[in-house]
Symmetry: D2
Subunit: 317 residues, 4 copies
Amino acid sequence: MRIAILTSGGDAPGMNATIRAVTRTCIYEGIEVFGISGGYEGLIDAKFEKLVQSSVADIIQRGGTILSTSRSERFMTEEGLEKAINSLKIFEIDALIVLGGDGSLRGAKMLRDRGINVIGIPCSIDNDLAYTDFTIGFMTAVETVTEAISHIRDTTEAHCRANIVEVMGRECGDIALYSGVSSGAESIIVPEIPLDMNEIAEKAIMGKNRGKKHHIIIMAEGCGSAFDFAKEFEKFTGIDTRVTVLGYIQRGGAPSIFDRILASELGYLAVKEAKLGNSLALGFKDGIAIKMSFEEIFKIKKVFRHDLLDILKIVSI
Amino acid sequence: MRIAILTSGGDAPGMNATIRAVTRTCIYEGIEVFGISGGYEGLIDAKFEKLVQSSVADIIQRGGTILSTSRSERFMTEEGLEKAINSLKIFEIDALIVLGGDGSLRGAKMLRDRGINVIGIPCSIDNDLAYTDFTIGFMTAVETVTEAISHIRDTTEAHCRANIVEVMGRECGDIALYSGVSSGAESIIVPEIPLDMNEIAEKAIMGKNRGKKHHIIIMAEGCGSAFDFAKEFEKFTGIDTRVTVLGYIQRGGAPSIFDRILASELGYLAVKEAKLGNSLALGFKDGIAIKMSFEEIFKIKKVFRHDLLDILKIVSI
Amino acid sequence: MRIAILTSGGDAPGMNATIRAVTRTCIYEGIEVFGISGGYEGLIDAKFEKLVQSSVADIIQRGGTILSTSRSERFMTEEGLEKAINSLKIFEIDALIVLGGDGSLRGAKMLRDRGINVIGIPCSIDNDLAYTDFTIGFMTAVETVTEAISHIRDTTEAHCRANIVEVMGRECGDIALYSGVSSGAESIIVPEIPLDMNEIAEKAIMGKNRGKKHHIIIMAEGCGSAFDFAKEFEKFTGIDTRVTVLGYIQRGGAPSIFDRILASELGYLAVKEAKLGNSLALGFKDGIAIKMSFEEIFKIKKVFRHDLLDILKIVSI
Amino acid sequence: MRIAILTSGGDAPGMNATIRAVTRTCIYEGIEVFGISGGYEGLIDAKFEKLVQSSVADIIQRGGTILSTSRSERFMTEEGLEKAINSLKIFEIDALIVLGGDGSLRGAKMLRDRGINVIGIPCSIDNDLAYTDFTIGFMTAVETVTEAISHIRDTTEAHCRANIVEVMGRECGDIALYSGVSSGAESIIVPEIPLDMNEIAEKAIMGKNRGKKHHIIIMAEGCGSAFDFAKEFEKFTGIDTRVTVLGYIQRGGAPSIFDRILASELGYLAVKEAKLGNSLALGFKDGIAIKMSFEEIFKIKKVFRHDLLDILKIVSI
């Protein structure tokens, strides 16, 4: 049997740990395993390379992806898709394992619809796949943001200021929400909840009146300009306010323990399912690894954790 | 209404984050909240201190416990227990929130049996409470061990050696198991599984023959002497072998993201339940916060994750 | 005898470690020590607070400054300066210890010129004081930048891109230079050296041709827009290029070992010199703590380490 | 021209960064460069491998040594030494660069005495070479110890205990001294200073009386049993006392900024000197890179920094 693996879309910490688990499980099971370079682009161009035990040595802790990744426009064309399928046929691949976020798993479904056996593993810092509680990489991004905010708080406190910290997440406010709780931020602004300047400003002013010397507000990238908000906030509160856009530091870094274990579990399971001839997506729900059809995963609507937001607001008073 | 909080037994990262969540939620709910110094010892001696918003400022990221902790032998006596109950009556405490591991929650049950309203929150690096998937502090300890092993691996590899790393956990092998997966250790030795020297030695020799320059074996503290095992292992394999006993570094450190969120959730929930006049233990099961009676929690038997051990063995080949 | 201490200008990691060393040395020597809140602004408004042993407990590892800091425009006026001097007289301060960068030490000199005994300690992440090899906080900022770049490299490599990383430093390229060496960046752009696009582009193209998947260029903030440069660089090289502006994360964080030791040495020495009735600036030159008059320190011209730049260029080929 | 490089003795963080600097500088200068596997053992057995640009990619931040290291007894024999020299002749090596501590540089001198051109670079966590202010790896070890102590302090404080932390350093107390200052330890015990139990106990008791909840004493490994001392200390002070032996975690880990820069400078300089046909040792003295003859370096006596010890005692009151 032959399995191929690719990483697609934005990179996420834990992709390498997943590649390692897939590769080693294949070798253990006597399955030949090939890495495809550069995501769907590399699939189209048949950039296959055989993976052996040592190909994945010492990568469990590395950010990024040793297979490289990309967003492929050619794959979205009929011609590109056909070429991709052709590559899999030439190399006699029995199953393809795709690591990526929403767009990458939609690409996986396209291949599945053409008869390819595909296993999807959710890897994305954004946590924007509704069917899984956590994507691989998300908790690491939250860790990175929390560490960055601890630096920002030092300076913010030294100057008795506020700081608006813009974080990633596309249309999903989860990075802002979780890092808000873990860093003890005073407020967050997320796409899922309408912005209430009065509530935010009141909290800041009350904190200041009680002697709080710092005020951290985390803003998800899908909520407009952090700089515009900062100006408005400063006008409302009279608090000297700065902006930090965290940018690319959120993508990289060694995966957290949580992501390493998730990656090991899902990588292992992917090979097991591929071996059975199944085509499906894997995830992590209610504390355990799950599998779900490609039809189902795109029907589920993402649920925002309002309960966690309530906790955030109360424990940061 | 008045709530008191204490930390008991071995300290665990996330105790402070829990104290913060309890205190802030109490204040938000208009409940007076008191910190008790030094665990059940302090309860016996009525060492109460009122907690305000700023008492818990800037502690979410701190290891240890600002309330101090201890193991109390006096509390195990009838006289001590009565004094403890008396302290709660003098201060007119309506509910006591206890943070700790197995022994501490047994103490909580004793108070509950005497009519005190008690909420138990599982805080322990050992993950030795069966009713909850995770205790607060456990994932941080796994993170610390994983980081330590990354250091040890550098040296082990530079000298082409093996290293036996002894970790904490009492009778529970979870620290060894999880840190084994996340650090990519070759084998683990845990109390839950009989030691199979042949299996471990064979893996080491095969790795060496394939060119692996390092070999890490994690040994839980409940499995005998790491030094004795190292000698035996060296004799079996011919690989130069050293021992590292990680010791107290495993207890401290800033709590991981996972533990901070768990702490915030359970601390918040504890106050909600206390307000309702309930007496029970909180935990985290199947991905969400749960509550359970003190009777039930001690009936459940801890289940070792054999599935994760299988994954560990395969992905570290 | 009475000593007062203030922190001024931008905060820097190690300010707290310095405050701790000053406070403890004063207490050991039987000197009363006062902290002034908010830099020269606080001095003008006589915001003095007595410091005791426990005031500085557990702060050696904290970023920011427990005394708060500011940039004071009032202090630049005759009226402000007089009020500041008056504050010192009211509190019968025998010597003032000032922690800060270039502007703050110029302020210290102004007080000295009016007859106040002042000791200056160079604290700034920018390393922009010529008379000292290192300012307290600089090496920590280099560490933070290096860590951030390790994250950025993961993503840059995963996508086979280049990334232009804008760092702080005002007119001084030292953060860019040192973090360039320690992170293994391919090129740096600093105010001290004319930008040579051909050299930078050639190196990038040659690296790409040899199979290098990432290309990191560090740009000091005083060298124009990183976004403009990125566009130009992309045009020259054809390499997909992104920009990261590190911003405020560079200021905070726990001080590095180097800065903690420097802070302890200079804080201790400051009290010794103050006790002798001296007025001067402290620094770190040729591997040891030094003292120098306020006249001299502003005459010395900063020397850029061209030798280190040469090394950077060669070891990153 | 041909240069060979080896790492010898205990591994130290920064060895890889040095190997990288040597390799890249050689390539830049048009010199062929060979890595020798396993230190002097590998030299005797002629384990040479050609190094190219990519051999040292992505290793600046890695602990350990990609060349492996060992302590060689054969090299101490006439026969071993001759074989080593023979290996160098067969491969037509013009100069050998040796990375290691005291013993390794003595080995380098032996080769030099037989007419081999040798450049020595001090790499050791112990800082036990008198002629250089710092060995590569030392500051990283201090960083690791400081981080470990921050963990230990959390627990020590939570239980109101003392903790005796045993650190490495052989006959040199520098790791204990520097990590004592940077971690804010109360006392240190080093081979250079006679142990004064009264002084240490008095400080602990005074701290306890003032309300200090933790007491950290760092003990260098050359000063007897930490367990024996702990018992004695407990008897003198009545403070509950534990012991932590840090062990192998002190050797590994990513090199600190300081060590990466030192490694880059000395690696670069080593090639420059080798090219000139010189045979000497490199070091870092008075803030800059230095060179010195093999005769001189072993004549210099190590000077303990009593000034820093005085500072440590005062700033930790």
